[in-house]
């Protein structure tokens, strides 16, 4: 998409096309010839996996929309009709519903990888921020998609989440009424959610194009965090990374298929197979697993408005991350102390997810009552989520700014090739430099 191009049109048609609309050149430069650091590990395959996830969600979603009826009286039955009477409807629907979870598994792996290797740091700040925009759009899309089957969790989840905006002073109530299209979650809400659920994936696709564009301007980061310096540091994207990403995608699809075919409802909540009933509230309203950490942050604060602000703050902080991390070293490989804090951060995220799934009063260690402090029961999920929330924010607002200034990083390699060109790993004499050109 930018920079030097090695594309040489071979046929008359390609030359004709190249002079008018160089799409073949664009494809060649970004998917075939694109110089990619040769030391990318499997954590770097999630970008490709995510592209596939988006494609699957779009394709299955478009088919589902052909059969789905966005009306409170028919939505639930229309989904069941898709699964019972539409040819392979069960496959399309289960791929779509489990596909959302797979999308989030991949996006979280992708984000943790970016955090670990410092992929958000200069010159990739915009690349990171565009990724955050995609993530935000994904969350909105997934939330609205979960409402569409109009089961009990759909309905009551929609009530809880839209009511969050009501916590805002003065404008809160008007915003919720505006979101609902009325004075309660009802048919108007379902209709607009369906409309937006269809629109937003295309917005995601648009931002993905910008994300990939930005990636191809700066080039990939890599596990050493050292910028590419010469051709010796890179390999062409095809066939080296098409085959590596391809293998990772096949393994990922195996996991995806295991859910779709053998346990399609494991990631959902059984209550969502009960048609929505505004008069009956489920015993426990829980969001889908990918929202649980944020749900835990929301509930960690006794004040509703503060909880809402903190929850959105947990995402907002990602947007300013490139300027919070003061270190000049990108990869945590060379920042041993920060790396330790990073692993605690990952654990804190999992703990928040766990807390989000449990009741706030539930004991962390059952039967243990010794952690009473004044009137606070420290052995409760709500307190665990408070500690984890505090750590979540401390990692971004204290650890990264301070460690960047105080920590002495380990020596970084001078180039990507250096650490791997040890005598044992060096190229064998006479080895072909370009195996892709051999039969």
């Amino acid at each position: 998409m930018s920079g030097h191009s090695n594309y040489v049109p071979k046929t008359g048609f390609e030359r004709w096309l190249d002079a008018r609309l160089p799409v073949a050149r664009l494809a060649y430069d970004s998917l075939i010839d694109f110089p990619t650091p040769k030391n990318l590990n499997y954590w770097y395959t999630f970008g490709g996996i995510l592209a596939l996830c988006l494609g699957i969600q779009l394709a299955t979603g478009i088919v589902l929309a052909m059969h789905y009826v966005p009306h409170v009286d028919h939505a639930f039955a229309s989904i069941e009709r898709i699964m019972r009477d539409v040819n392979y409807g069960w496959l399309v629907r289960y791929m779509h519903s489990n596909g959302a979870s797979m999308f989030f598994i991949a996006v979280y792996a992708h984000m943790f990888r970016g955090l670990y290797y410092g992929s958000y740091k200069a010159p990739r700040e915009l690349l990171w921020i565009l990724g955050c925009v995609i993530y935000l759009l994904m969350m909105a899309t997934a939330f609205m998609g979960y409402v569409l089957p109009w089961g009990q969790m759909s309905f009551h989840g929609a009530v809880v989440i839209t009511n969050l905006f009501g916590a805002l002073p003065i404008i809160g109530e008007s915003i919720t009424t505006w979101l609902w299209g009325g004075f309660a979650v009802d048919n108007a809400t379902l209709n607009r959610f369906f409309s937006l659920h269809y629109l937003m994936p295309f917005m995601i696709a648009g931002v993905v194009i910008l994300h990939v564009w930005a990636l191809h301007v700066t080039g990939n980061n890599n596990p050493t965090g050292v910028q590419v310096q010469s051709k010796a540091d890179t390999v062409p994207f095809h066939p080296y990374y098409t085959v590596k990403d391809g293998f990772a995608i096949a393994v990922f699809m195996l996991m995806f298929a295991a859910f779709v075919f053998f346990n399609p409802n494991a990631l959902g909540h059984p209550d969502n197979y009960i048609p929505a009933n505004p008069l009956v509230t489920p015993a426990h309203i829980v969001p889908e697993w990918y929202f649980l950490p944020f749900y835990a942050i929301l509930r960690a604060v006794p004040d509703k408005l503060m909880g809402v602000l903190l929850m959105f703050g947990a995402i907002a902080v990602l947007f300013i991350l490139p300027w919070l991390d003061t270190s000049r070293v990108k990869s945590l490989r060379y920042r041993p102390t920060t790396r330790m804090y990073f692993f605690i951060f990952v654990v804190a995220c999992f703990i928040l997810g766990l807390c989000g799934a449990r009741l706030p009063d539930e004991h962390v260690i059952p039967g243990l009552k010794t952690f009473q402090l004044l009137d606070a029961d420290l052995n409760s999920m709500v307190w665990l989520s408070r500690f984890a929330t505090a750590y979540y924010f401390a990692y971004f607002l204290i650890v990264l700014p301070v460690m960047g200034l105080s920590e002495t990083p380990l020596d970084q390699p001078k180039s990507i090739s250096e650490p791997i060109l040890s005598p044992s790993a060096a190229l064998p004499a006479g080895a072909a430099a370009s195996p892709e050109k051999r039969g």
Partner: protein, 280 residues
Amino acid sequence: MLRKGLAIAALGLALVGGPALAAGSQKEPRTVDWSFSGPFGKFDRAQLQRGFKVYREVCAACHSMNLMSFRNLGQKGGPFYDPKYPNPNDNPYVKTIAKEYEVSDIDQETGDVVKRPATPADHFPNPYPNEAAARAGNGGALPPDFSTLSKARKGGADYVYSLMTGYGTPPAGLEVPSGQYYNPYMLGDVSAFWKGEGYAPKGGFIAMPPQLTPDKVTFDDDTKSTISQQAKDVAAFMAWASEPKLEERKAFGVGAMIYLTILAGLLYVSYRRIWRNVAH
């Protein structure tokens, strides 16, 4: 490298372990070795037929099954599937069963509401004309629709089986309200009605009285008609009604897994070959 890939997959799986909900106050359902569990699972045709008989003779008096039609009984994976009749509407069993039900229709000549025998294309008729009538007939409680019930409960068929066989004498100290029945597998909270020692027992109150008794349903295949057998069979039938495409899905899945495994293997070999001479 492969190890890392597996670690990533494991990470994803660990992540999804999260939403396992807080243990409710009900007892964990007893597990049954279902023929349809596991990746190669298939419904036991005879069990589905027995289960349908239990549904028809016991449950259908109060419970609707709005999303199911008679034709579903004869489709692939259904209780009366016969390969001779790929179109379930032609299946003689299904036609006969449908004919035994009466459904409302409009007389096209006069516009009057009339009753006529059902055809395989008709939905199972609802035992009550509307929700209010259903509640009025059941002490205010609404008998849930059977179409998705099995997958709408944590534990699925295990839960249905446990609930149906879980009735018993309530523990001493529990004051059961009139018109209600104690069942340890029912979600609920009975602590307000507990006058005994210690914690209130697990379980909840259910408006449905115990339904199954020995020999209440006569099975045509000479299976002994115990409460446990009836409960198992009707639970299997309900699991089928919730997921009528389960067999097709699992069979497809086995093929998909084999395909993906071979594809992953070929890609891995290609990967090793292509990267053979690149130090990385």
